[in-house]
Structure formats: C-alpha cells, structure tokens
Assembly symmetry: C2
C-alpha cells in the first residue's frame, strides 16, 4: 500500500510558505505501515487540482488531500476530487443546518458561500470537524478494479491533526494488518554525524526490522529508532535490545537515553544531587542562561548569573582583577578561571561556569587578544574546592561558535556532576 | 510560462526531512516572472521518478529537478529524464577526466560507480558544479510542439544555490522578457497580523502591480513588497510610493523600514546617540542579553547585565533591598524599579532595563507572588534622571511569554531613545 499526499493552496507555491502538514501525516501513515511515495503541492486552480487528484488516484492506494475545503472560490478540493472520480457532489442537509447554527450562535447571518462547506463527494463518509467549520471526508471506493481510499482534510493544522488522529487513523487501521510500535530517541553531544554513523551502523544494520534515523542538529546528533511488531512486547524488546547496545557503544558522548535535552539532563542531575548553578558569560552573552531558564522548574537549581560583556562588568559582577584582564586579555584561561571563581563566591552556588571567547566576525579587542583566533573559547568550571579551565578552538560563524560554546559548557557541567 | 519543481529523494518522504530547495528556486523563478504551479516530491524509484518527470514535462514549460545526481544506485534523475524525453544518455569524456582528476588530487582511486556522474542527457548543456562533483544539466527542447526547458540540479543547497543563481538564471533570462525588481521589507512589533492587514490593505490593494506578502512571526509582523517593471527606476518609484504611505499609516508600531531586526535597530540607535545599555533579567533568564549579543558589534553599546533568577541574586547583582522582595514579591513594579535602578548604578550604563515576571507553566513563588497570574511581567527602564515601570499581561506558553517580554523590552528601549 502506498500513499500520496496532495497539499492544495497557492500560498504553498510561494518562496515563504511551505506545506508542513505532510510531515505530520507521513508520520501517522508510517505508523500504520503505509509509506508515502509522492507528495504534490498544487495551487488553487481547478484544472491543476483535478489533474493532480486524478494522477494520485491512479498511482497510489491512499490519497490524502489537505486544504481547499473552506468557503471561498479558491476552495476547490471537493470539486476536483468529485471530477477526478467522476461522481457528483451534494449538499448534506445535516451539515448545512449545523453551519447555520454555528453562525446563529455568534449572532451572525451566514454568508451564502459558506454553504459550500456542506458539500459532500458522493459516497464519502463525513468526518466531523470539532475545531472548524469544514468537515473531513473519507472515501473508500474502487477505481479500475483497484481499491482506493481518498481522504479530504482541512488545511489548518489545528483542525487537520485531531481529525486525522482521532478519525482517519482508526478507519485506516481497519483496512490494514495490526501492528504495535516501540520508539526510542538517543541524543549525543559534540560529535560529528559521520562518527556516530560509523560507530553505530555496524550495530543497527543488524536490526533491519528497526527503522533507524540519524538527525543532525547544532552540536548534537539524534538517533531515532522505531520498531513495529504484531505485539507491543515484541516491539519493546527489539528496541530495548538494540538501544542497550548502542548506549554501550556511544557511552562517552551519549547524554540522553529517552529524548531529554541537554539542558534538561543538566538540571535533572543538579536536582538529584541538590546542587545549584550560576553562570558568567562573555561571548555567549546570556545564551547559556537563556537555554537553562527555558526549562520549566529551572529556578530551583539555576540561580542566575552575569552577562559580563564589557571588561568592566567582569570586575563589577565577578571581581575579576583589572590587571588580569589587561595582562592576559579578556579571552584567556586566566580570566575564565577568575570569572568562574568570582561568580561562585558572589552567588554562593555549588557550581559556577564561565565562558569567554571570540565569536567573530571581528577579531579580538586591541591588546593581548588582538591576535587570538576567532573561535578561541575558554570555559571555566568552579566548585568550592577546585577550578578547571577548558580551551576550545571552534569553527564556523558567530551563531555556531556561540551555540557550540554553550553546548560545551552544558556538557562540562553534566560530566562534572556525573 | 509556468514551472514545476520535482525534488527527488526518499528522505524527503519521511516525517523528519523536507524539501527546502524549492523555496529558494521559487524565489528565483518569481524574480524572472515565472510562477511555480506544481511541486512534486518523489522517492528514489526509477518508475516513480520517470512518471513524475513525464507528467511535469507535459504540464509545465520549465521543469526543475533537484537531487538524484550523485554516484549511487539511488541516483536516478538523469535516467528518469532521458526516459521521459525518449532520448539517450552518454558519458561525457571531459567530465569523466575531471572526475578522475578530482579523486587523484586527493590521492584516491575513483570507485567505478562515480563515472555515473559524467552521464549527460542527450542535448543537455553541462552546468559546471564548482562545489561538488555532479554537474547540473540544462535542456532546451521541444516536446509535442511546445518548447520545454528542463533543468537538473544537485540536491545539496551549497551546490544547488550557486549553480542556479550563476548559471541557470542567466540562461533562463535569455528566454524571458526583461524585468527589474525592487523590494522592500517593513517590520512592526507587538501588533496582531489582522490589525496590520486591516490598516494596510486599503493602501496596498491600490498597487496591484506590487506583490505584498504579510508574514507573522512571534511578536512581529513583516510586510514584504516586490515590484517588477521594465526599468529599475520605475520599480523603485512604485515601491517608494507605496512604502511611504504604509510607513505613515503604521508609524506607531513600525520599527524597521529596510528589514533590520529590532535588536539591530536598538543597537543602531544606541550607537547614534553614543549610549550604553545594561540588562537585569529574571523571567527571561538571559534571552534579552542573548538577542542583543547575537548581533556582531553589539559589545560597543551593550555592556552586559545580570541574570537574577533567584531572589538572592537580585540583591547581590543589583542591590535590590531584601525587604522589598519580601514585601512586594519578586514579580512587582517595586522590584522591577529597584532592579533597573540598581543595575544602572552598578554598571554605569546610560540605560538599564529590568524584566521580572511569571513565565509559567507554574504559578508565582509562595508569598506575595502566589496569586499573581501567569503572564504578568514588569519591565523597568532606568536612566540617570528617571525610572519608569511598564506592566504587561501576556498570554501563551512559557516560550511565548519570555519572547514577548524580551520584545517589549527592546521596543521600550527603542521608543525611549527616539
């Protein structure tokens, strides 16, 4: 069984908007064991949409059409599908009554064109839309001796998603063999995708029944695993077996076995040991603090910190001696050390982390930093008994250097706590 | 003239990856006056790809195919296009020699399957690829008495983009009437899209020759204008006329007339008046500082600040009296006032801004804040002569409240400076 998804809407043929519903629908179809073989994006043009529907019905077993179910002249999906199937459209009296009621409830008179939303392709099952006025339609028919399922869904994700999940999935599942899914997401920091693949592919290729996807983010790699089996226990067991082996192989760089973000893992581990954290950021300018505070509940373990962008504030907020900055430059191991230590002393946190570096695009400030390379970053980690500084040489543009620096800082905290 | 873009690659039929090249290509085609009427995404399957190519060639004047030009068995675009056109493929000896040289330069022996990248559809012009090994191909032909242009481009954006811009655009321009474009981007903060549209549509609808696109971001609306005319002066004049009227209408909320971000506008205005800025952030946790420091050169006008997430750090870093926090709660106009004033005093900035609020999802801390609503935010703005506090009642989730708070803070600074 293969599927095609048709997204109708001229706005998705512009440089600024994109069809995203198809990602959600693809995920749901894959869960049912159905692969998507084609996606078509077509404008609000009856001839184009009818031809696209006709082609899709001829080459796919399941055709999902999204959008074009509204009340305007541009909403042509119902008409296109009926023409492609060679069947009639009729107005459903119950739907029409509901539409009138909807407007009446808001004390408005329904504009006549809204009646269009009560039009049903002959033979379709109506899928009530609890989040909008246009219902979905589910057509289970035979074309040229082949069974075809054609589904019409409204375009707005808030309407489409519940409609698909709650009504289409159960209907589709009736026509497909039963399957149970198990999923797992492993996350690794500060390692290239190619290395992850080289180290894990000898393992995951032994599990052809598990679908493995490697996704690469900034300074992070995600390994997604999905396994479908006739029973849940079988699926879970396969996933457990495979991920236990992958975890052992990637132990040095794996920070999450169940999908948590690096920030969440750091905060979780601070919490487990009842530790508090403070930050002093120069080149990352608040990025590290912002990432930590984006997590709900972070205030229990993250006290806050200083954004010591200017040299003077390094002294004001963290007590870094002025002559240390003058002698070694703000981007130096010495200043990172003093920043972390000073922040620990001022904030009374259990752990303080400092970041100072040259994020570019310009070079370091005149003085001792003038000839230091873009991407040079020092991270200091202070505890009441010890302060350690790590030197990094990062590459890329300003955004990338700042993100990698914050990622390294989080990972240093994580490793320190463990 | 209408175009169709076919993206080839099974990974783009999964729930996690999407074709994005088509957005770039659509923009380039629109600039040439060509509308995209269809987009098709198809997997690495010869029958599917050939059928998609055949359909596209029949219904569009210009067909762009992206991806599937590599050396593996999955790379089938050349073969599919040749089959759809009913022509041969041949190996180009010059390309083959270049491929061998490429490998030799890296002291590697070329694997035999790489020779595939020297295969050319009969009649195609070779478009040299300076960023990869597979060249593009440009076919200008006649099918069923209609002129058809078929373009094959490599999938990686780093290869596709320069190839399209530098080689395809000039070739396509030769076949199309000359046109000159003028563009403008206006940006507005803290206003709903519906209001922008209601106020600006009576103006922009009078300019049907200017394409207007409204894009809605978080706490920001963008108005994009593009006008194409036979001469640059005509295009510029139309855009100037329209945008002058829109600027006058939206003056109260417009922060950028040429596309600059709100952070850039704030830093630019600080620079023009030689002012410096410092921040004290509670609920935004560094987000405001991070946004400012993401802009290169920000260190000249942004000194830094404090992330005063815990109550104690509000006292430590900004000298907020403890009893003020105990009496009024950390989320109060009084604390916002003291935070801004204290930060100004400590940092010696010309302007200090403070943010304290309840971002959720949990309620305020026990004590005076316990019954304050999620979304309540106070922003303090201090200068040596005056401190002013603004109260906001924001809605939405944690991310949205934090972003809107930082956006309000930036806009308050901008308005203060102006």
């Amino acid at each position: 069984m293969i599927a095609e998804i048709i997204a109708a809407g001229s706005e998705m043929l512009t440089p600024t908007r994109q069809d995203t519903n198809s990602l959600f629908l693809t995920s749901g179809l894959n869960d049912l064991g159905v692969q998507v073989a084609f996606k078509t994006i077509v404008g609000d043009n009856l001839a184009h949409l009818t031809s696209a529907a006709r082609i899709a019905i001829s080459r796919a077993d399941i055709v999902l059409l999204t959008g074009g179910l509204g009340p305007t002249e541009d909403d042509l999906t119902r008409e296109a599908v009926a023409t492609a199937l060679g069947v009639e459209i009729h107005r459903d009296p119950t739907l029409l009554t509901e539409l009138y009621k909807r407007f009446a409830a808001r004390r408005m008179t329904m504009p006549p064109n809204n009646a269009k939303q009560a039009e049903i392709v002959a033979g379709a099952t109506i899928l009530p839309n609890h989040n909008g006025s246009a219902p979905g339609q589910f057509i289970d028919t035979v074309v040229d001796n082949h069974r075809k399922i054609i589904i019409l869904l409204p375009g707005p994700p808030k309407e489409l998603k519940p409609l698909f999940t709650n009504q289409c999935v159960p209907l589709l599942a009736q026509s497909l063999p039963p399957r149970h899914l198990s999923r797992r997401l492993l996350r690794m920091a500060l390692i290239p995708e190619s290395q992850v693949d080289a180290r894990t592919s000898p393992i995951y290729l032994q599990y052809p029944d598990v679908e493995t996807t490697i996704l690469s983010g900034t300074a992070e790699i995600q390994l997604h695993f999905v396994c479908a089996k006739p029973t849940q226990a079988e699926a879970d067991q396969r996933i457990d077996e495979l991920t236990t082996r992958i975890e052992a192989e990637m132990e040095d760089t794996l920070f999450s076995s169940h999908g948590e973000s690096l920030e969440e893992v750091v905060l979780l581990n601070l919490g487990l040991r009842n530790l508090t954290l403070a930050t002093a950021e120069s080149c990352t300018g608040g990025l590290l603090a912002q990432r930590l505070t984006a997590i709900p509940g972070s205030s229990r373990y993250f006290l806050g910190g200083a954004v010591v962008y200017s040299d003077a504030l390094k002294t004001t907020f963290a007590g870094v001696p002025e002559d240390l900055i003058t002698t070694h430059g703000p981007v130096s191991a010495e200043v990172a050390h003093a920043l972390a230590k000073g922040t620990l002393a001022r904030t009374h946190a259990s752990l303080a982390i400092s970041i100072t570096g040259i994020a570019g695009p310009g070079p370091g400030e005149p003085g001792p930093d003038a000839n230091k390379p873009i991407g040079l970053v020092y991270i200091g980690l202070a505890t009441p008994t010890n302060t350690h500084v790590t030197e990094l040489n990062l590459t890329g543009d300003r955004d990338r250097i700042r993100w990698w620096a914050s990622q390294h800082a989080l990972d240093l905290i994580r490793r320190h706590i463990l």
